[in-house]
């Protein structure tokens, strides 16, 4: 006989910085950060792909480091700084160079994996302004994409990096065409 399950239903209340702004939220204590973001804060840009730490679609930045939000409890971000895709825009409201590069090159097909890639790549470019192709592959190896075949994603990260360094703002035609 299964024992009657008693789940603590009382909510916990935390304060943290979300996308640069102070945020307070109350939620059931067992909830993952992914669930808190999506269900309690309605920020559904962070995607649910597996809830097992296997796909990277749920990646967000916590104190500027990529974290799989499906694997940490919402409680753990108390007092910390969380960035989701909704907060990637620059202070003036313009898109982050990674976002423009992904859009320019069509690095998003169905787009479901895109937020996770964007945030993971953001951290990479903050650490390393001129990553090699291998650096990029390594950094993104925890993010799965079933549509694109990754190459456009690497190219987009490279283009964004170049633009952020103030070089090569133009997209090489061959890359844009994708077709030689």
């Amino acid at each position: 006989m299964a024992k009657k399950l008693k789940r603590k239903t009382q909510k916990v209340h935390i304060a943290f910085t979300l996308n640069g702004e102070p945020c307070e939220v109350a939620f059931a204590p067992h909830k993952t950060l992914l669930e808190v973001l999506r269900e309690d804060l309605n920020l559904t840009g962070t995607k649910h792909g597996c809830e097992l730490g296997e796909c990277g679609t749920c990646a967000v930045l916590v104190d500027r480091k990529p974290v799989l939000s499906c694997l940490v409890l919402g409680l753990t971000v108390e007092g910390r700084e969380v960035t989701t895709v909704e907060g990637m825009q620059l202070a003036d409201g313009s898109l982050h160079p990674l976002q423009t590069a992904f859009a320019d090159l069509g690095a998003a097909q169905c787009g479901y994996c895109t937020p996770g890639f964007l945030l993971t790549a953001k951290e990479l470019l903050e650490k390393n302004s001129k990553p090699t192709r291998d650096d990029i592959k390594e950094a993104l190896s925890g993010n799965l994409c079933r549509c694109t075949g990754y190459i456009k994603i690497y190219e987009a990260v490279e283009l964004a990096a170049a633009r952020m360094r103030g070089e090569a703002a133009e997209v090489p035609e061959e890359v844009v065409l994708g077709l030689k």
């Binding site: 995607k47 825009q89 787009g111 592959k137 993010n143 079933r146 075949g149 690497y154």
Partner: protein, 788 residues
């Protein structure tokens, strides 16, 4: 969805005719209206340009809402209770405890849904036939409460014998009898009697083998492949009185709507299905799933909206591309000409008859190469496994693994270039229907691909005998449908400010449908693409189209969009003609201007003409007309691959792919290349890493997660992929395009296998090509036959 009986009703109207649509290899006759022909596009301004995706910004800002993202007030979460046994009888089932659990609003048991089936499957069952089959459903206020309560549904099972192995199931010794007539049926769509294979035959194979100089016999096997869409399958259903709204991660909102109407006998007008953004389908989301019907019913019972998203684990316990065993016998002349092909295929298709639709893979063998004598025999065999579904290039992807390796093997034995053997067996006519191909650019694909790949030079290169990293090159070809067809309707609305709404029922499953259809609309109207706002995949606001399967979307909806834009343009020209003092047919439009064709400086702005519309807007309608009679509509391609095989570890690295495809006119080189690159990466997974394993002793799936199933990561994908279109003109529809969604996957895995053979001289007959199989084959110094 297309269903023969429904479409055979004659309308008796001269405006209509019968036409054939090829969907996933099945030829369906549908009745459709004749549409006025439009002139071929000669020069284009917008079509053919690598424009960024029109919905790119939505996707990179997180604004795009997928089914999983939709939340509505008072929403409940539904979770299924699934059978832990591959075959059992439910002796007792009780929902009392679950119903009393916190937050629970409803439990449905098999007896509650006994009168319903979807796609030939019971919604819930007392007689589960595979591990993971749905027994009950629980709905609660939170997902966790639903999961907890699902565990409280008390089910007592009587375990029954089960069978996982297709050969055993097919034999007299099978511990399970699925049907009195036997445990197999003919594979493929159509009505087949149980206990008989489906057979295709032309010529006389026995005579063909006698006339051959050499005969080769080999057996190939393929693993099941799982779609692994990044967004799992799922539904959100909400009733407002008798009006139902369903958000579904789907390839076809109309297919889902029709299925709900059929299952629950409610009018189509009461059902709205929305599927605007969706996180990948690859064939697995072609229609309604069981969870669709269950969510709809549960929402009705609980009077609350119900969301039922599968977990990743459940997703991996679900649909897949079936496995195959392919017994090939091919007779050839010494010059490489094929004289006879005999092929028997065994395709395990799960426990239900509907799975047999996908239990066929011989079609490619019957049409790819010229051969007068062909005999194929296909067995769809029942086992205690889940029901398969379509998956990207169903049938041909399995078959290419065998056929394209056979061609490679023949070339090797005859000491011929594999391209030469293929070219010597080129054929301009579909040998099954005897219809000529409307266009076939395969020879061009070989030529262009070989040149860009430096095929001859790379083939001549020799590996250092002492080295442990061996390079090898391989090639494989593909054929697929992709000609599209009716029904597909589009609506183009011009607003009084000159802005345009394009309404299409077509799904954008990541392929770029929204973008390419906007380009077609903009091209025909002669306005920039940013003037067009496209709304798609919503049964309430967009017109009918078939689901996005069979690579038919572009070639089905594209021509309808062009016709709709043309209809709208003509109406606007009627108004503009007065202002410009000419007749409407003397007008053209381009770059946002309407002008007199012979006197281009006599012109007015598109929006000025729109401002003069007395009704304030106008609506153009377009329909997909019939396909040309007596022509075969197919897309072709050839892929060249270079691998490096480590003879010390057995590891294979894919260094390069060059893909040359014939898909007619490329509407957007960007989205075209993306399809091909994504397809090749998926094919690389099929060749090297992906495997769906069910434990034969317990009937339980053991690789039901991404980590274990292993779709390619950034470290496994090919290092470089070059994509080319051969641009062979195609005139079978008014936009000149064929589909490209599925073709790129078909040739990939055999190209890799052929390259591995070229590198190390061992042929791997079963996918995935694991390091273990290579090491065993190298150790034995011969080809690895069916290593498990």
């Amino acid at each position: 969805m297309v269903d023969d009986e429904k479409n055979q009703k004659p309308t008796g109207d001269q405006e209509y005719e019968d036409t054939v649509v090829n969907i996933e290899g099945r030829r369906v006759t549908v009745r459709t209206r004749k549409v006025p022909p439009l002139p071929d596009w000669t020069e284009t301004e917008i079509v053919g340009k690598a424009l960024p995706r029109v919905d790119g910004i939505d996707k990179i800002t997180g604004r795009a809402k997928y089914t999983y993202d939709i939340q509505v007030p008072y929403m409940l979460y539904a979770v299924a209770v699934r059978s832990p046994h591959p075959h059992a009888r439910v002796k007792n089932i009780s929902a009392d405890k679950a119903l009393a659990a916190p937050g629970v609003h409803g439990v449905m048991l098999p007896q509650d849904v006994a009168s319903y089936t979807t796609a030939g499957l019971p919604l819930l069952t007392l007689n589960p036939k595979y591990t993971g089959e749905e027994i009950a459903v629980v709905a609660a206020e939170t997902e966790l409460q639903a999961e907890d309560a699902a565990r409280l549904v008390k089910v007592e099972y009587e375990e029954l014998p089960f069978v996982m192995d297709a050969e055993l199931s097919k034999s007299d010794k099978s511990p399970v009898k699925f049907f009195p007539e036997g445990n197999f049926i003919g594979g493929g769509f159509g009505r087949h009697p149980i206990g008989k294979p489906s057979v295709y035959s032309r010529g006389d194979v026995e005579q063909g083998f006698k006339d051959s100089d050499q005969v080769f016999e080999e057996t190939f096997t393929t693993q099941p492949q799982q779609h692994s869409c990044m967004e799992v399958h799922g539904t959100l259903a909400q009733w407002d009185d008798d009006q139902l709204t369903v958000w579904e991660s789907t390839q076809g909102v109309y297919g889902v709507q029709e299925e709900i109407a059929r299952v629950f006998k409610i009018p189509l007008s009461s059902i709205r299905v929305i599927g605007t953004h969706m996180g990948g389908g690859f064939g697995s989301k072609g229609g309604a799933g069981k969870q669709t019907a269950l969510a709809v019913m549960m929402a009705k019972r609980t009077r609350r909206p119900v969301k039922m998203m599968l977990s990743r684990h459940e997703d991996y316990m679900g649909v897949y591309r079936p496995a195959s065993t392919q017994y090939f016998k091919i007779g050839v002349k010494n010059d490489g000409r094929l004289m006879a092909i005999q092929l028997k295929t065994i395709n395990p298709v799960g426990a239900y008859q509907s799975g047999a639709n996908w239990g066929s893979c011989a079609a490619m063998t019957t049409e790819m190469y010229a051969c007068p004598n062909v005999h194929t025999e296909e067995y769809a065999v029942f086992t205690n496994a889940p029901t398969p579904s379509a998956m990207r290039g169903p049938g041909n992807t399995q078959n290419a693994w065998g056929l394209e390796q056979m061609m490679d093997l023949i070339a090797y034995k005859l000491n011929l270039d594999p391209i030469e053997v293929r070219n010597r067996n080129d054929v301009k006519v579909d040998q099954v229907t005897n219809e000529p191909y409307a266009s076939k650019g395969l020879a061009e694909c070989y030529k262009m691909g070989a040149e860009k790949f430096s095929w001859e030079e790379k083939r001549r290169r020799r590996n250092d005998p002492a080295g442990t990293k061996k390079h090898g090159v391989g090639v494989a070809s593909q054929i697929w449908g992709g000609g599209g067809g009716p029904p597909a309707t589009a609506i183009v609305k011009i607003n009084q400010d000159g802005s345009v709404n394009l309404l299409t029922g077509a799904a954008d499953i990541g392929t770029g449908t929204r973008t390419v259809l906007s380009q077609i609309c903009a091209e025909e109207l002669g306005v920039p693409v940013n003037r067009i706002h496209v709304t798609n995949a919503d049964t309430e606001t967009t017109p009918y189209t078939l689901p996005s399967y069979g690579s038919i979307t572009l070639a089905s909806s594209g021509p309808a969009v062009r016709s709709a834009a043309n209809d709208a343009k003509k109406q606007l020209f009627d108004l503009a003609a007065g202002s410009l003092g000419v007749k409407p047919d003397e007008l053209s439009s381009k770059d946002g201007f309407i002008f007199v064709t012979r006197q281009p400086d006599k012109r007015m702005k598109f929006e000025s003409a729109a401002a003069g519309m007395p009704e304030r807007d106008l609506v153009g309608r377009g329909y997909r007309g019939p396909n040309p009679k007596g022509q075969a509509l197919n897309a072709f391609g050839a892929q060249f691959c270079e691998v490096e095989v480590d003879t010390q570890t057995g590891e294979v690295r894919v260094l390069k792919f060059v893909a040359a495809h014939d898909s007619g006119r490329v509407i957007n080189p960007h989205t075209f290349a993306s399809q091909v690159k994504g397809g090749i990466t998926m094919g690389t997974g099929y060749a090297l890493s992906e495997r769906r394993l069910i434990d034969g002793n317990t009937g339980i799936p053991v690789a039901a997660s991404m980590l274990e199933y292993r779709p390619p990561t950034s470290l496994d994908a090919p290092i470089d992929i070059e994509v080319y279109s051969v641009d062979v003109p195609y005139k079978a529809n008014n936009i000149g395009a064929k589909g490209v969604g599925e073709p790129p996957l078909i040739a990939t895995a055999p190209a890799i296998a052929n390259a591995v053979f070229n590198a190390v001289g061992v042929r791997i007959y079963s996918n995935p090509i694991t390091p273990e199989k290579i090491m065993l084959a190298l150790r034995d110094g011969k080809t690895a036959k069916q290593t498990a």
